[in-house]
Amino acid sequence: MTDTNATHAKGHILVVGGGISGLTTALEAAEAGYETTIVEKSPSLGGHVSQLKQYFPKLCPPTCGLEINYRRIKDNPRIHVLTMAKVGKVTGGPGNYEVEVTVSPRYVNEKCTCCGECEKAVTTEIDNEFNFNMNKVKAAYLPHEMAFPQRFVISPKIIGTEDAQKAKDACKYGAVDLDMQPEKKTLKVGAIVWATGWEPYDARKMDNLGFGQYDNIITNMMMERMAAPNGPTGGKIVKPSDGKEPKSIAFVQCAGSRDQNHLPYCSYICCMASLKQATYVREQYPDAQVYIFYIDIRAPGNRYEQFYSKIKADEKVTFVKGKVAEVSEDPSGEIVVVAENAVTGEKIRQNVDMVVLATGMQPTASIEKLPADLTFTEEGFIVNDYAKGGMFAAGCAAKPADVVSSNQNATGMALKAIQTLVKA
C-alpha cells in the first residue's frame, strides 16, 4: 500500500552545475521525490570527471558511473536538464527564489538523431576544448561520444558562414536551426545548490614551470585526455613535440597549490592523481622511468596509503621530496627539472622527456562571479551558511575534494535543500 499521505514538500530544487557533484545532488533529491533542475553551462553533463581516464584508487572509468547517472536521469521524470545555460540574477529568499537563466543557442534542436551528417558536411575545424585544445574538431560536433544529452552542437564561430549552411543542408531531420537565439527563462525554486566546481589552475601563471613555452610540459588534466581511449592521441601517451613515446616522465606536485602566490591551499587530489597517472605511463611503457617531485604525498587513509605503497614498490618510479624550482628545456630538446632535495639538501637537475604539472583546483566561482547573495572565502570557495539556509554549495565549489568526498557532500546537500522546502 502506498502511503499517499507522504506527499513531498512543494517546491523545486535548482542545481547549478552538472558535474559529478551537481549530478549527485540533483539525482539524490529527485529519487527522494523532489523536482530538480540542473543548469549546466557546457553542451553536455559530467564536468571534469568526464575528461578523466580513470578514478583513483580503483582505476575504473568515470564514464561507468556517469552512464548509470544518465540512466537515472532518463528514468526519472522529476529531473530537468538545461545545457548551455547560465544562471543570471537570483532574487528572493529560502523557499522562494526567482532565478534568471539564459540558454545559449546550440543551433541544433531536439530533432537531432546524432547521425553525424552535419559533422561530415562542414569543413571548418575548431579547437577541441574537451581535449584542452590538443586537437581539433569539426565546427559541428558531438562534445564527446559519451556526451549526454547525446546531441550535436554547432560552434557560433561558423554561424553566418557557408559552412553553417552546409550543416543545415546536410541534416535530413530539420535539427539544425541557424536562427536560434539566446533564450531567457525564469525559474521559481525553493532551494539552490551551487555545484559550480573548479577549473584547472592556469599553468601559464607559473613562469618558472615552463608551461606554454615548451611543448613537452603538459598539465595533469591534459595527461588524462592523452591517456583516455577517446582522447586526442587515441589513448597513447606521447611527447607533444614529436608524437614519440617518452622514455622518462616527471610529475611536478603542487604546481600552484600550497603556494601563497598562486593557490594558498592544498588541492586535495593531485598527489593521488599523479600516482594514478604513473600507472598509465607504466602500463604503456614498461621501460619508462617516472619521477615524482613532491612536498608531502597526501595519500591519507587505508585505501590511499595502500595505493601509494603499490606505486612505491615499482622500481621504475622514483619519489623525490623537494619542491621544483624550475622546469625548462635544454638545447637537446630534453626537459630539465630543477629541484632541491629537501632531505639531502642537494640541488637536483633531472633530465626527462616530458613533464606533467600537477596543477590544482581553482574554484570556478573565483573566475566567474556568481550572481547570488553568497559568502566566499578569499580564494573563491563558497562558505556554507546553514543557519541562513536556502542556498548551499556542494562538492568542489565549497572546498577541494576527491570524487568520493564530493559525492558524500553533494548527497548531504540534497538533504539540506529538501529541508529548506520542508520548512518553507
Partner: protein, 779 residues
C-alpha cells in the same frame, strides 16, 4: 494484459539505405501474423512520434521500435503504460558494419556465387528477437508493503549519529538514536578542543558536542536510548523489526550466526542435507531464535543509519616498543594524550610533572614512510591540534611534530599553515628510529630530517599518532537477522570499514536500507563526518520514499519490477539465498526461500542462479530472454554451402552494452556472425539460455561483462564474478553433450574500452571457427 502490437521500423540515420525494411517486416513480422507495421524515415521526429501515439490512442499497448539504441532518445520514445522494446538497428547493425554490402545490392563477379546477406539477416534476427521479447513480457506491478514504517534508526550517539538524527528529523522524519554508552556524545565528548569546522580553518574550536546533545534532546522527533545496543534487525527496508538490549546482555533475540563452512559438510566433505543443516544451525545458535522468528516486542523501523564510529587503535604487546610504547608511561597514543588534555594541563604520566617538551610521532618508521595503522589526515591534523595544547599550557612549552608526510588535504592546509606560525611548534619530516628513556627523560632519535642530519630530541612526553579503528572491525554492530549473516559483507576489502566500493556512489553497500556515516566508513574529521551524516540521512529517506512507491533503489532506481518465485517447483537448493549479493533472500529450515523484495536491487542474480528456473521478473524472465535466444536464425548447410557461424553474446547492459553502442558510433566493425542479447547483469545469466543456444545450433556463446575481483566494477557487486564461476562449471555439462567447453567464454570489457570490442569479438569468433560448426546445427 491483452496485448495489441505495433511495430515501427525506422529508415533514418542510414538504416533505410542499408536494410530492406519492407522485406524484414514481411519475413519476420507478417510471418508471425503481425500486421500493424509502420514505416517512417524518422520515428523520433514529431511526425514519427505522432504515428506511434495515434496507434496508442487506438489501443496499441505493445510497441516495438526498430531504430536506434535504447540508450538514446528515451524522452522521445516514452510511452507510459505501454510495453516498449527498442530494436537496435542503428548502432548494432548498420553503424557497426559499414563494410557490409547493403541489402539488395548485388555482388559482382566471383563473389556473386553464394551471396550471404549478412546485414539483412542481422536486422531480421534483431527484429525477431524484439518481437519475441514483446510477446513474453508484461507490465510490472510495483511491490508494495502492507504498511510502511518511516521511523529511522540511528546506531551511535556520537557527533555523526546525532547529526544524522537531526538532519532526518529536520526533513520531517521520526528518529530513534541508540547509544551503547550511558550518555550521548561519543569520542567528541572527550576532547579539549576540536579541529576547525569551517573557514578560515585556522583556529581550533570548543567542542560542539554539548550543543548537539541539547538539540537532540529538545527535538520532538528524536527519541534517545542510551545504554542500549541492537540485538538484531529483522525484516526489510520499510518494515524492519529491531530488538534492543543492554550491552553485554544475552537474550533469545540475539542474532544467530550462519554455520561456518566446515560445519556444513560431513566427515567426507560431502554437503549435509537441509534437515541436518537446520539441526546443526539450531545447536550452533543454542538459545537464540531463528532469524525468521519475529520478536513480538520488537520495534518497527523503516531504515537504518549506522554511525557507530571508531575506537582507538590498540597496539599489540610489544608493538612500537622501539618507540618506547609499553616501556615507559611517558610514551602515549594521541587518544591517551587527548584524554589527559581534556581534563587538565598536559603532564608526564610517570611523575605528574609538566610535559613541556612533547614529540609527536606521525609514522612508526622501520624504513617505511607509512603512517600508523588506521591513520589518515585526521591523525596529522590532530597532532597539529595537540601541539597547540602544549603551547596553551606552558609559555615555554615546545612541541615537535615528526612526520613522513603532513597530510592536511584541501582547505585543512590552512590549519597547518596557522600552526606553522607558532615559534614553539617545530615541524620536520623525519624517520623516528628510536625512543629511549634515561633518568625519566626521553630521547627521540630522528633520521632523514629536513635539516639533513640525524637529531636527538629531548622530550618529556612522546605521542604516537595511532589511528581510528572502525567499530565494525570488531563486531557486526548492525546484527542483521539475514540468512547470509549479521554483518556487512566483504568489508575485509576496506580494512573493516563499512565503506562502499563505488567511487561514484559512496553510500552503496551490499545491504539495502542501511547507510553508514562517519568514522565507521572511513577515517574522517568531524566536519566530514557531519557532512557524511547528512548524506546518509538523505539515503535513508530516499530508500523509504522508493519503498513507498514500490520501486528499486540504486542502481536500478525507479524499477518497479521484482523477482517473482514459483514456489511449487522449488527444490530448496538455497542457491538464490546464498548468491544474492544483497542478502535479499532468507530461507526457512527446509530451505525454501523467503524473498524480501524491499532489500532487492533487481539485478536478477537469483534468476541466474535458479536451476529450476522459477524466478522471473515481469519484463525480464527466463522465457523472455530464452525466446530471444531461440529467435536467432541459425543458417545451416541446407541454406548455404558454407553457412556463417552464429554466436550469441550475452551483454551486461550497464557497461558492455554502452561500449557496443560507442563502437557503433565510431563505426568500428566486428564480425557479422554475432547476436547481442542484453542482460541486467551477468549474474542474471541462467545457464539454460546457453543450453538453449547450443541446442538450436548456435556455435558459441560469449558473456560480455565488467571487471571482477577486489576492484570490481559490477554495479551489483558479484554478478560478473558469479557468472565466471558458473561458466567454469558449465564445461562439464558441455563435455557430456560432446561439445567443447571453449564454445562458451566470458570476457571483461569496461565501458570505455569500446575500441577493444572488435578484437574481443573477432578473436572469439575465430576460436569458435577453429572448433568448427556446432554438431547440433540443423537438427
Amino acid at each position: 494484459m491483452d496485448k495489441k502490437y505495433g511495430f515501427y521500423l525506422c529508415s533514418g540515420c542510414g538504416i533505410g539505405e542499408a536494410l530492406d525494411l519492407k522485406k524484414m517486416a514481411e519475413d519476420v513480422l507478417e510471418e508471425e501474423g503481425h500486421s500493424n507495421i509502420k514505416f517512417h524515415d524518422a520515428f523520433c521526429s514529431p511526425a514519427g512520434v505522432a504515428v506511434i501515439q495515434k496507434d496508442i490512442d487506438d489501443g496499441v499497448n505493445a510497441i516495438c521500435i526498430a531504430a536506434c539504441s535504447r540508450r538514446v532518445l528515451t524522452d522521445v520514445f516514452n510511452f507510459p503504460g505501454c510495453l516498449v522494446d527498442r530494436v537496435n538497428l542503428r548502432e548494432q547493425v548498420v553503424w557497426a558494419h559499414p563494410g557490409l554490402k547493403p541489402s539488395g545490392e548485388k555482388a559482382e563477379g566471383e563473389e556473386a556465387g553464394e551471396e550471404i546477406p549478412h546485414l539483412q539477416m542481422m536486422g531480421e534476427d534483431y527484429l525477431r528477437m524484439g518481437m519475441k521479447r514483446l510477446e513474453k513480457i508484461n507490465l510490472p506491478e510495483p511491490y508494495k508493503l502492507e504498511t510502511l514504517e518511516r521511523r529511522i534508526l540511528v546506531i551511535g550517539g556520537g557527533v555523526t549519529g546525532m547529526t544524522a538524527a537531526l538532519d532526518a528529523a529536520e526533513a520531517g522524519y521520526d528518529v530513534t538514536i541508540v547509544e551503547k554508552e550511558d550518555k550521548l556524545g561519543g569520542w567528541a565528548a572527550n576532547v579539549r578542543k576540536q579541529l576547525p569546522l569551517s573557514y578560515p580553518y585556522q583556529e581550533t574550536v570548543s567542542p560542539i558536542v554539548d550543543e548537539k546533545i541539547r538539540a537532540v534532546q529538545s527535538h520532538s522527533k528524536i527519541e534517545v536510548k542510551t545504554g542500549t545496543v541492537v540485538a538484531r534487525i529483522a525484516g526489510q527496508p520499510g518494515d524492519f523489526t529491531v530488538t534492543f538490549k543492554k550491552p553485554g546482555e544475552e537474550i533469545e533475540f540475539d542474532v544467530p550466526y550462519p554455520l561456518p563452512d566446515e560445519m556444513k559438510v560431513d566427515e567426507n566433505g560431502k554437503e549435509l542435507d537441509n534437515e541436518t543443516l537446520a539441526e546443526k544451525f539450531k545447536e550452533y545458535n543454542e538459545g537464540r531464535r531463528d532469524i525468521l522468528t519475529l520478536d513480538p516486542n520488537g520495534v518497527k523501523f523503516g531504515a537504518v543509519i549506522l554511525a557507530a564510529g571508531w575506537r582507538p587503535y590498540e597496539p599489540e604487546e610489544g608493538e612500537f616498543a622501539e618507540l618506547g610504547y609499553g616501556k615507559t608511561p611517558d610514551v602515549v597514543t594521541n587518544v591517551q594524550f587527548e584524554k589527559m588534555a581534556a581534563t587538565g594541563p598536559v603532564i608526564r604520566p610517570s611523575d605528574g610533572k609538566p610535559a613541556k617538551s612533547v614529540v609527536f610521532v606521525q609514522s612508526p618508521g622501520g624504513g617505511d614512510d607509512k603512517d600508523f595503522p588506521y591513520a589518515s589526515s585526521v591523525t596529522s591534523l590532530v597532532a597539529l591540534k595537540q601541539a597547540k595544547y602544549v603551547r596553551e599550557d606552558y609559555d615555554d612549552g615546545k612541541a615537535y611534530i615528526i612526520y613522513q608526510h603532513m597530510r592536511t588535504p584541501g582547505l585543512t592546509e590552512k590549519f597547518y599553515e596557522a600552526v606553522q606560525q607558532d615559534p614553539g611548534i617545530f615541524l620536520t619530516k623525519g624517520e623516528v628510529t628510536g625512543v629511549s628513556a634515561d633518568d625519566g627523560q626521553l630521547s627521540v632519535d630522528v633520521d632523514n630530517t629536513l635539516l639533513g642530519e640525524k637529531i636527538a630530541l629531548s622530550a618529556d612526553l612522546v605521542v604516537l599518532a595511532t589511528g581510528m579503528v572502525p567499530a565494525t572491525k570488531d563486531e557486526p554492530v548492525v546484527n542483521l537477522a539475514y540468512r547470509q549473516g549479521p554483518a556487512f559483507r566483504d568489508i575485509g576489502l576496506f580494512g573493516g570499514y563499512v565503506d562502499s566500493n563505488f567511487i561514484c556512489f559512496p553510500y552503496e553497500t551490499q545491504r539495502t536500507g542501511v547507510y553508514a556515516a562517519g568514522a565507521i566508513r572511513r577515517s574522517m574529521t568531524m566536519e566530514e563526518s557531519m557532512e557524511d551524516a547528512a548524506g546518509a540521512a538523505l539515503k535513508a529517506i530516499q530508500c523509504l520514499d522508493s519503498v513507498n512507491r514500490g520501486v528499486a533503489v540504486h542502481p536500478r532506481s525507479g524499477d518497479p519490477t521484482y523477482p517473482d518465485f514459483f514456489f511449487q517447483r522449488c527444490t530448496q537448493c538455497k542457491r538464490c539465498t546464498e548468491e544474492c549479493p544483497f542478502g535479499a533472500i532468507d530461507d526457512d529450515a527446509k530451505g525454501t526461500p523467503k524473498p524480501n523484495p524491499t532489500r532487492c536491487r533487481r539485478c536478477g542474480t537469483c534468476m541466474g542462479a535458479c536451476p529450476e528456473r522459477i524466478i522471473n521478473f515481469a519484463d525480464y524472465s527466463i522465457d523472455s530472454v530464452g525466446s530471444m535466444v531461440k529467435a536467432i536464425g541459425v543458417p545451416s548447410e541446407d541454406d548455404y554451402d558454407e553457412p556463417p557461424l552464429r554466436i550469441l553474446v550475452l551483454v551486461c547492459e550497464n557497461d558492455a552494452y554502452p561500449a557496443i553502442d560507442m563502437a557503433g558510433l565510431n563505426r568500428l566493425e566486428y564480425s557479422a556472425d554475432v547476436r547481442f542479447v542484453p542482460v541486467r547483469c551477468l549474474g542474471s545469466v541462467n545457464v539454460v539460455w546457453i543450453k538453449d543456444a547450443l541446442s538450436i545450433g548456435i556455435d558459441g556463446v560469449l558473456l560480455l561483462g565488467c571487471k571482477h575481483g577486489d576492484d570490481y566494477q559490477c554495479h551489483f557487486v558479484k554478478g560478473s564474478e558469479l557468472a565466471s564461476i558458473r561458466m567454469q562449471k558449465i564445461g562439464d555439462a558441455l563435455s557430456s553433450l560432446a561439445l567443447e567447453p571453449e564454445r562458451v567464454a566470458q570476457k571483461e570489457i569496461a565501458i570505455d574500452e569500446y575500441h577493444k570490442l572488435p578484437q574481443i569479438i573477432n578473436d572469439f569468433v575465430a576460436e569458435v571457427e577453429e572448433l568448427g560448426p556446432n554438431p547440433f546445427k540443423g537438427f
